[in-house]
Amino acid sequence: MLLLGCGGCALKPVTYHSLPDQTPAADNAAALQRERDLEAAQAAAAARARSEGAEARRPITPAEAPSLRTYDPLSRLNRFSYRFNTRFDRLVFLPAANAYRRIPHPLQAGVHHFFGNLSEIDSVINYTLQGRLGRGVRSLGRFVINSTVGIGGLFEVAERLRLPNRPTGFATTLAKWGMHPGAYVVIPFYGPSSTREAIGLVADYGTLYAINPIDLYRGTQSWGLGVVNAVDQRAHVDFEYYATGSPFEYEMIRFLYVRKLLIEDSALHPTPKTNSELPAGE
C-alpha cells in the first residue's frame, strides 16, 4: 500500500510535504542573545588572556593553515556513503526528525537533556584522561545537579548555575594525546567523520555500554532508546543533504568538516601544530 501510494506521488506534478513550523520571532531573539553572549565571551576571553600572561597561547599564523585540499584517500567509498546517507535521510531520518519536532517542546527538551546528561559520564572520564581535571569536575557537577535537581537529567538546571554544557569524548582525548584526525570518512547513517572520530565514537558508546547507567544499555529497551536518541540528535542538526542544490556539496562539506576538526584540535595545545604539512588530496 505504501509503495502504491508513493508510486502515485511520483506521477503528480506537484507534491506537498508538511514541515515543522518556522519560529522567526524566537530565531531572531536567539540571534540577538547570541550577539550579547558573544560580547560577554570576548570580554571573558580577554580577561583570561591577561591572566595567562607568559603562558598565553601562541597564535596560529596563516602559514600554518592546512591545505585547501582535504586528505580523502577513501573518496570513492565516502561518496557512495554520502549518496546512501542522502537517500536514507530523505526517506527515513528527516521525516522521523520532523515528526519528532512536532511533539510539544518541553517533552523534546526533556528527552534531549536526558541523553545529554548521560553523555556527561563519558565527558567526566575523557576530561580526566585529557588531564583537564577542572573541566572534569565541572562535568561531574553538571551530572550530579541535573540527575538530582534536574530529575534524572530531564531538566537542564546546571547551566542556570553557570555550569555550561561542554561535552567531550574519546576522539578529543586522542586529539589531546596528539593524534591527527586521519583520513576523512563518511560513516553510513551517521555522516561526515574521520578515522580518529570514528574510533572515538566506538569508544564512547563502548564506555556507556560497559557502565550501563540504570541498565539502559542492555536488553530490548536499549534499541528503542538508541532510536529515540538518534532521532533527537538528528532533530537538533540543522542540515539537509543537497539543500545547496550543488553537485560540489560533497567537496564543500568535506572541506568545512575537516577544518572544523583542526580548529577544535588547535584549542587543545598551547603551541599549535602546523597543519600545512598534513597529507592532502584524494
Binding site: 506534478p13 506537484v14 513550523d21 531572531n28 558573544l38 570513492r76 578529543t172 542544490g245 572544523k260
Partner: protein, 441 residues
C-alpha cells in the same frame, strides 16, 4: 542534394558569422568602480545584513509546506545532478482568504535561504500566503525547471519561472483561498519578478497584480562584471589569492576559537565570530566577490554540462555519479563571468535565438528591455539603496527616472544589507497593499 549542401554551407557560414561576432565583441568591461556605489560601510552592511534588533516584527510561528515540482520541460538530468530531479519550493498558507505573495530568491539562492525566510516571516505575519522559489540561477532550478540548462538570461529564465509558477498555482492546496497574487524578488530575483509580471501581462495565466523589486540590477552583465573586477582586484587570478584569503580567515577563526571556552565549534560560535574575522575593506570586498564567484561555479558547471561546450567538462565523457569534482571546481573558481558568457552563454543563445547578436544578448539582459512597462504601469515598484554595490550612478538614476515615485531609495544598506529591517518591510507592505504614492490602487 546540391540545395541541401548549399543550405548546410549557408547555415554554417551564419553560425561562423555569429561566432565571429562573439570573437570580435566579447563581453564589454563593466563601467564604473568595482564596488559600484558602495563605500566601506556599505560593504560591511552587505556582508552582515541587518542587526537582529533592527529586524521588523516577526510572527511566532509560520506554517511551512515543502513543494516538490516535477516539470515537463526540464532537460534530461545529468548524472551528477541525481539529487535534483524535482524543484523544491515552499508555501506558507494562511487559514483564511488572503493575497498570495511569490518571493524569488537572488543569484544562486534557494527558496529557503535566510533572506527568503526573513521575508516569508514578515509577509506571513502581515497576513499574506507566501510562496518562495529559488533563483533560476540556483543549481536545483537549473536541473529541475530550466528548459535550457543555461541560466542567466532574463527572458529565458523569466519564461521558465513563469511556466513553473503556472504549474504550482494550478496545484495549490484546495482549502487555500487566494484573493490576489503579487510577486517580489531581491537582487537578480527582483529583475526576475518584474520580467515574470511583464510576461503575465500578455499570458494572463497568473493574474499578477503588483511586482516589487528589492535591490535589483539594471544591467545584469554590468553588475556581474563589476563583481568580476572586484574579485580580480581583491583575490587576483588563479587560486593563489583565494588560498591566501582562506589562510588568513582560518588563522583568525582558529585564534578566536582558542580564546573561547568552547569544546565544540558550532554554528553559534561561527555566527558570533563572523563579526570579528573580517576587518579591512579589502577583506569585506573579497568575501563578497568570492561568495558570488562560488555561486557562479555551480551555474557555469551546469551550463557547460548542458550545452556540451567543453570548457571544463568533456561532453563525450561527462562526470559520473561518484566521480570527484574537485579539479573541476578549482578550475571554475578561477573563471570570471565573462568566460561563462563567452564560452557557454553566448554560443548557446546565438545559436538558439534567431537573429541574435552579442549586443542584442547584452541589451536583452537590461531592465530597459521592459523599460516602457516599468515606466507606465503603476503596479511595478522598487526598493534600493544609494550605496548598492551592484549599481553605478547612471543605473540608479535610470531606476529613479523610470519608476518615479514608485521607487524608494534608502540612504544606506549596501546590497541587501537592510533586507528585513523595519522600514524596508513597512514600505514593502505599503507597496503590496496599494497604498504607496504613485502606485495604482
Amino acid at each position: 542534394m546540391n540545395l541541401a549542401l548549399v543550405a548546410l554551407v549557408l547555415a554554417s557560414m551564419a553560425s561562423a558569422a555569429r561566432a565571429g561576432d562573439l570573437a570580435a565583441t566579447p563581453l564589454p568591461v563593466a563601467p564604473g568602480p568595482p564596488t559600484g556605489l558602495a563605500g566601506p560601510a556599505a560593504l560591511r552592511e552587505t556582508v552582515f545584513g541587518p542587526r537582529p534588533e533592527d529586524i521588523a516584527p516577526l510572527p511566532a510561528r509560520v506554517p511551512l509546506l515543502e513543494l516538490n515540482v516535477r516539470t515537463a520541460w526540464h532537460r534530461p538530468l545529468p548524472a551528477v545532478f541525481w539529487f535534483d530531479a524535482r524543484l523544491r519550493a515552499w508555501l506558507s498558507p494562511q487559514q483564511h482568504p488572503a493575497p498570495l505573495v511569490i518571493v524569488i530568491a537572488g543569484t544562486g539562492g534557494s527558496g529557503n535561504s535566510d533572506k527568503v525566510t526573513t521575508l516569508r516571516g514578515a509577509l506571513y505575519g502581515a497576513g499574506f500566503h507566501v510562496l518562495t522559489l529559488p533563483s533560476p540561477t540556483f543549481p536545483g532550478f537549473i536541473a529541475a525547471a530550466s528548459s535550457t540548462g543555461i541560466a542567466g538570461d532574463l527572458l529565458q529564465d523569466g519564461e521558465d519561472l513563469y511556466a513553473t509558477l503556472t504549474e504550482i498555482l494550478a496545484h495549490l492546496p484546495p482549502r487555500m483561498q487566494v484573493t490576489d497574487v503579487d510577486i517580489i524578488g531581491y537582487s537578480l530575483g527582483g529583475a526576475n519578478a518584474a520580467i515574470v509580471k511583464s510576461i503575465d501581462s500578455q499570458e494572463q495565466r497568473l493574474h499578477l497584480h503588483r511586482a516589487v523589486m528589492i535591490n535589483p540590477p539594471v544591467s545584469l552583465f554590468d553588475s556581474v562584471g563589476r563583481l568580476d573586477k572586484l574579485y580580480a582586484i581583491t583575490l587576483g587570478n588563479g587560486d593563489a589569492g583565494v588560498e591566501r584569503f582562506y589562510q588568513r580567515l582560518y588563522a583568525e577563526l582558529a585564534n578566536l576559537y582558542r580564546a573561547s571556552d568552547r569544546s565544540v565549534l558550532d554554528e553559534d560560535f561561527l555566527l558570533g565570530a563572523a563579526a570579528s574575522v573580517l576587518t579591512t575593506d579589502r577583506e569585506f570586498a573579497a568575501a563578497i566577490a568570492l561568495s558570488f564567484r562560488l555561486d557562479l561555479v555551480n551555474m557555469f558547471f551546469a551550463g557547460d554540462l548542458y550545452s556540451g561546450a567543453g570548457v571544463v567538462v568533456d561532453p563525450r565523457h561527462p562526470p559520473k555519479v561518484g566521480d570527484s569534482l574537485e579539479e573541476i571546481g578549482i578550475e571554475l573558481r578561477s573563471m570570471p563571468f565573462s568566460a561563462y558568457f563567452e564560452r557557454v552563454f553566448a554560443p548557446y543563445y546565438l545559436k538558439h535565438r534567431a537573429g541574435s547578436t552579442v549586443s542584442s544578448l547584452i541589451a536583452q539582459n537590461r531592465l530597459s528591455v521592459i523599460g516602457d512597462t516599468l515606466a507606465k504601469d503603476g503596479n511595478y515598484f522598487a526598493q534600493t539603496n544609494r550605496d548598492d554595490l551592484i549599481l553605478d550612478e547612471e543605473e540608479l538614476a535610470w531606476l529613479e527616472r523610470t519608476l518615479g515615485r514608485r521607487i524608494v531609495v534608502y540612504e544606506q544598506g549596501g546590497h541587501l544589507g537592510n533586507l528585513g529591517e523595519r522600514r524596508q518591510i513597512e514600505d514593502l507592505l505599503e507597496m503590496l497593499a496599494g497604498r504607496w504614492p504613485g502606485g495604482s490602487s
